[in-house]
Symmetry: none
Subunit: 501 residues, 2 copies
């Protein structure tokens, strides 16, 4: 069956919607990295205009009519074909977006900006009470949003689905319960394994040398020429305008090498978008399929590559030379231990591989309790602190290092946090499969050969974009849906008491 005219009409319409989304991403990057600060007011209006136009273009009787008209064409196609996938995914996107009353959408967009500003002011002032009304408003809006999807098994499913389509809260709970069971004892073992902090990463690393190293690793990991850029920012992120316009950001602190790990992390996000099939460009399929899968890619480059022995055999002499003579007295083993040290701490984004997940699980559980009203907002800081003590044994000194640390709740983003740990879990499932396909992967990494890994990811995951559901995408690549066991094995092998130090 030849593609009917309606298909081209739909594609053109969706290409425009996609273009507007990409433009908003570039403007978002610009706002955080480049824009003169006084420009914020009018930029907000511009973003709102783009959002409204894009929404009106997508959620319109014309889109509905085209999707209806294309049902029989869709049924005539191989479901795995680009065309069938385009119609299927667009229909799903449409059905979800069309449920939301425009007033609610506008209110959520507005609340996100207002809440973000309130959070940004409250955090340095440790002032949870000033922020609480905004969080209250976010929760009210989310409850209204949840009610639009009465078929959900539980309220949190509705929010989670926005970031990890098809995943249920019950699925996440099953994974996280396994993680908790194993990780709580592992934290203690791992902390002993690498010993006390020896100050290696507490040294002053000059910002320009940190930047040179970040640029070096992006080139070593590899990409098509002229398609990546790197800039400094306050909160590292990856963005860009298309598969050949990838923009990653990092943060150069006066001490330590967090900037280097953030760069490898954001490279992983960037590479995912970079390797999506060109045929999917300017369609709703031309993006990463979920936050969890995205995070599996960033955590893979940051941790499975970037904190591995083979990588550091290759990379450490380069790092020493980059910062010479700063690390002349530090040998590879000492450095390797320093970047792998496990130590319960207060701040999620600075947490090690093992404890990181406990930060996420705490947020996942609290979000559900807030949504259901089981935890009252006035008790949230105490509840936060109590659970931090219980999960990680750390005492929270103030709200800036506690409940106010992350931006997410400021913008009303609820249901997002679990995808961080789902990404960790999936990264190792994928990694095990890669090791089956490339048995000498470690040798390759030790020689600085990253192309085989990059290409494997492109072929088995990246190129598909949003064609399949996240769990389908994972299953196509690894043969199974999400499973915490490979990740737990990896953590125990690397950080458990039985590990030869």
């Amino acid at each position: 069956m030849a593609a009917p005219e309606a298909f081209e009409t739909l594609k053109t319409r969706l290409a425009q919607v996609t273009d507007l989304g990409r433009v908003r991403r570039v403007l978002g990057w610009d706002m955080q990295v480049m824009m003169p600060p006084a420009g914020a007011g009018v930029r907000g209006e511009q973003q709102a205009t783009l959002d409204r136009i894009s929404f009106d273009l997508f959620v319109s009787p014309e889109t509905e009519r085209l999707l209806e008209e294309l049902s029989s064409y869709e049924e005539s196609l191989d479901p795995e074909s680009d065309d069938a996938s385009l119609i299927r995914v667009a229909r799903k996107d449409y059905e979800k977006a069309a449920r939301i009353p425009p007033e609610l959408r506008t209110e959520m967009v507005k609340a996100a900006t207002e809440g973000f500003m309130a959070w940004r002011q409250a955090k340095p002032e440790n002032d949870y009470d000033a922020f609480r009304p905004f969080l209250e408003h976010h929760l009210e809006l989310r409850r209204r949003y949840v009610e639009l999807f009465p078929e959900a098994d539980e309220p949190y499913d509705v929010l989670l689905d926005d970031y990890e389509r098809g995943m249920k809260t019950a699925d996440v709970r099953a994974v996280f319960d396994r993680l908790k069971e194993e990780l709580v004892p592992l934290v203690g073992e791992a902390a002993e394994l690498y010993g006390e902090d020896d100050g290696t990463l507490g040294r002053s690393f000059p910002a320009d040398q940190q930047e040179a190293l970040s640029r070096e690793i992006i080139e070593l990991f590899g990409h098509r020429e002229g398609a990546f850029r790197l800039d400094p920012t306050v909160h590292p992120f990856a963005s860009g305008g298309g598969i050949d316009d990838i923009r990653i950001t990092t943060k150069y602190e006066p001490t330590g090498l967090e900037s280097f790990f953030a760069t490898m992390h954001e490279y992983g996000h960037g590479l995912y978008e970079h390797q999506i099939a060109r045929e999917l460009d300017r369609t709703p399929l031309g993006g990463g399929v979920s936050l969890g899968l995205h995070e599996s890619q960033s955590r893979m480059w940051e941790n499975l590559v970037g904190r591995s022995r083979p990588f550091w055999r290759f990379m450490y002499p380069r790092v020493q030379s980059n910062f010479a003579p700063l690390l002349d007295d530090v040998d590879e083993e000492t450095f390797f231990r320093a970047v792998n040290r496990v130590q319960p701490s207060l701040i999620r984004i600075a947490a090690d591989e093992v404890t990181y997940n406990m930060h996420v699980i705490l947020r996942f559980e609290l979000e559900q309790d807030l949504l259901s009203g089981k935890v009252d907002l006035k008790d949230l800081p105490e509840e936060w602190n109590r659970r931090m003590d219980s999960y990680l044994g750390v005492e929270v000194p103030d709200n800036a290092h506690g409940v106010l640390q992350d931006m997410h709740w400021g913008t009303g983003t609820i249901g997002y946090f679990p995808t961080y740990s789902l990404g960790n879990v999936m990264s190792v499932q994928i990694w095990e499969r890669i090791k089956d396909d490339i048995p000498d992967l470690d040798d390759k990494l030790e020689r600085g050969e990253f192309a085989p890994l990059r290409e494997w990811l492109g072929e088995h995951i990246h190129r598909h974009g949003r064609k399949f559901l996240p769990q389908e995408t994972l299953e196509r690549a690894t043969g199974s849906r999400i499973d915490p066991e490979p990740y737990l094995r990896y953590l125990k092998d690397k950080h458990g008491a039985a590990t030869p130090a």
Copy 2:
């Protein structure tokens, strides 16, 4: 008469159109300053989508209906009021835009991006032949565009009107013929006046010190806090997302101080947009009224301020200290002569005040000849070189220093060049009026007091935005329409044989 509901509806619609235009400007800046080069293809599509959506929003039966409905409201108002001007200017914009078939418009936008990328590659490679097909395509598109306005006196009028509304090719020719008449002999006189190039500006000025100086002058000239940014680029320009988001660019060459003059020039453009009345923001009136008026502002800060004796009395010690010890052996008089030296040369943007106009006149004449087919594209480089020899007596060594030097033809921008010299002419008309209003302006400049000049420009020119036609705006500020005589007097006073050296 109270504003009818249709007026608010029109304003909202035009605010969205304005937002999309501002977004396109920021993306244009991004493309030239920030975008990874491989991102060009999809960016072209995105710009085309924004243009298309903006065009559909503006050129719609709804806009036409609203404008019609608002006729009687417009007539009830003072024509100089913001509301009457909004309706009047929007109607004029509408009538022009409604003539253009959407397909042609889309093609022109796409060709601009593609042509720009081709030009950017061809220039350093001196490869005119690689660029020629893009220029050919631009000319075809312009010829189709011109045909849409059969009432024009001559084809070039149609293109010129896009940049200088209401100005005719014949008006420009009359001004330029006067310039040619006086400038050709003046070039010879002026070249003798300041003597041979003594190498002062041939020294190596470190790029980071050039940048520091550029930043210093932007702060000295002044603006609202957090509203300007400065970046390096290949071809300096000014852009931005709003009156408090002004982005100027400059170019740091290994030798010379062109970057400093370019910064003052682009500051002048930026200041114009920065000082437009806030009430006109997000309306079609909230921008500079024409390229000529814009250029009058940039040339004023670059030349009438930036190459004047009072300015250098104030500024030279700061420049010496910025580059110390590089200019310790150069006194103010020697430096002043160096930055005012008249010397026929190859590159327009580096040309002195006198010869600059000859570069523009050459392009103005060539553009008409290309449009009419009188000059064939395959002969363009030779024709360029022949005229450079005839007008300025210089020999063009290669296309990078000849026909490929400017970006304009890369993006298909034809009809734009004459506005540079119109700006020169108008700048002195305005300057004479300022000197009447601020008799001690020279003393103020010598003390580094730029606020009175800045405020005069804001009050008499900038704040009006696009409320009045370009020549009306000039007349309101100076009492007369365009007149080359003040400019010629200025040039002869400063650079003529009768001048005391």
